[in-house]
Amino acid sequence: MRELKVSELSVSLKDKGQPLVDKLSFRLGAGESLILLGQSGCGKTMTCRAVMGLLEKSRFRVSGSASLDGGELLGMPEKHRAGIYGKKVAFVPQNPMTALDPSVSIGRQMDETLHLHTKLNRAQRQARIRASLLEAGLEETERVCHSRPNMLSGGMIQRVLIALALSTGAELVIADEPTTALDVVLRNETVDAFVRLRAKGAAVLFVTHDFAAARRLGGEVLVMREGTLVERGDVREVWASPEKEYTKALVRASALSKGARHADR
C-alpha cells in the first residue's frame, strides 16, 4: 500500500438531514498513523465503517471518496471487497472477543487465516505465528496458541488480533477503540504493539477517545465533534498546546490527575 486517501467524505442517515460525518479529508501513508479522536457519536467510528465499505446503502448516504492506492473503496462491490479486507486491510474491533471463534484455539485460528492468505507450509506458518505473537508483545506464545479466546484477557486478545495483522502482512490496520477497556499498563503494551506494526511499514488508522493513548501512538490527530473536524495536527503538539476549547477539555479529561484539583481543596 502506498496511501489511503479520503477526501470530502460525508455520511448521513437516509431519513435525516444532519450529517454524521461532514466533509472529512485526510491522507495516510505506509508506516504512518492517523488518529480519529472524539467522544462517542462524533463520527469517528462512522468514518472507519465508511472506509471499510460497511455502511448499508439502504440506510446511509455516503459521498466523497476514499481510495486505497487509487482504487475507490466507497461503493465497491461485495466480491471485490472480500479480496481486500482480511488480506490487505485488517480490522481490530473494540470488543475483540467477537472477532474470534470462541471454540477454536488461537493457534489454530491464526494458522487457518495464514493458510488462507499465504502460500507458506505448515512449519513456516507456525514459525510466523510465534514470531508475530512475540512482536505484538505476547511473550508466552505457547500458552496463547493453545488457549481458546475466552481463556485470555481482553488486552491479550487485542494483541492476538494485532499479531494476526502482523502475520498476514496487512498494509492498513483499522482499530476502533482498541484500548478503551484496558488499564494503563495493558493500554500501553497494546499501543506499543501498534507502534511496532507501524514500524514494519503498515499504516494505522486508530480511533479513540483517549488522548493519552493517542499521544503514545503518535502521528497526526483529527479531533472530531458531531461529525465535523475541530482541530488537526501532530498529536504531541496538539496535546501540548491545544487551540480549541473542546480540545483543551479533552486533553484535561485525559490527564485529570495532572490538573489542579489537589491544590484547590
Binding site: A181, L182, V184, R216, A255, S257
Partner: protein, 252 residues
Amino acid sequence: MLIAEHVTKTYRNGKSETTAVKDASLSLIPGELTVLVGQSGCGKTTLSRILAGIIPPTSGSVLLDGQSVVPPARRKNRRLNAEIQVVLQDAGSALDPHFSVYRSIAEPIRNLLRLSKAEEKARVTSLMERLRLPSALADRRPGELSGGQLKRVCIARALATAPRYLIFDEATSGLDVLVKESILDLIRELHRETGAATLMITHDMDAALYMADRIAVMLRGEIVENRPYTGDPGCLEHPWSRRLVEQMEPYA
C-alpha cells in the same frame, strides 16, 4: 468504621484453587475517599464485595462498628443494608430493564426505609435534581438513557437510603473522557456533602490520583501499598505503584 482485617478469599474449582484476595486489610473511614487501584483480575472487585457483605471471605473478618458484616447478616439486617451501598460497574445491566427511572430510585427506599408515598416522592425528586437528571426522565426505562445518565441513576439509587458507606466499582469504565470527568467530579461533590466513607475501585490510575484522599494499590490479590495521598504521585513507593504512575502519559 467499616474494617476488613486479614481477609482472604479462595475459589475452589474442582481440584484447582485460586486465591482472589490474599490477607488484605482495608478500613473505610467517614469523611475519607479511598481509591483501590489495580489491574483487571487483581481481586479488587472481590475485596469490595466482601467489604459490602455480598460474598463471605474464606478467612478474616469484616466489621461495621464492631458488628460482623457477612451475607446472611446483611440480607436480614435492614440498617446494615441501608448503610452500605454499592454502585455496580456496568450501569446498563445494573438496572432492571422493566423498571422506570423513578421506580429504580424508589426501590431501595421502599425496601429499606419506612416512608410515606409523599416522602418517597419528595426524596426521589430531590435525588434526581441533585444528580442533574431532568425530571422528564422519571418515566423512562434504562434502554432510553445515555451511559452517563444510567450511571447517575445508579448513583441516585445508592444514595437513596443515605448510606454512610459507599462503594463504587469501576465508576467510569466504558464512559467517554468528558463524561468520566463529570461523574468523578460528581462523586467528589457527593462525598464532600454527605461525608460518607467512600471507596472507589478502578483500574484507571489517572482517575485514582485525581480522586484519592487515600490510595491503596492491589497486585495479584494483595494490597501492596496503602497510604494517604496529597497530590504528589512521588509519595508512592512500591515498585508496582511506581510502574503504574510511570505508564501514565503525563508522567512519562
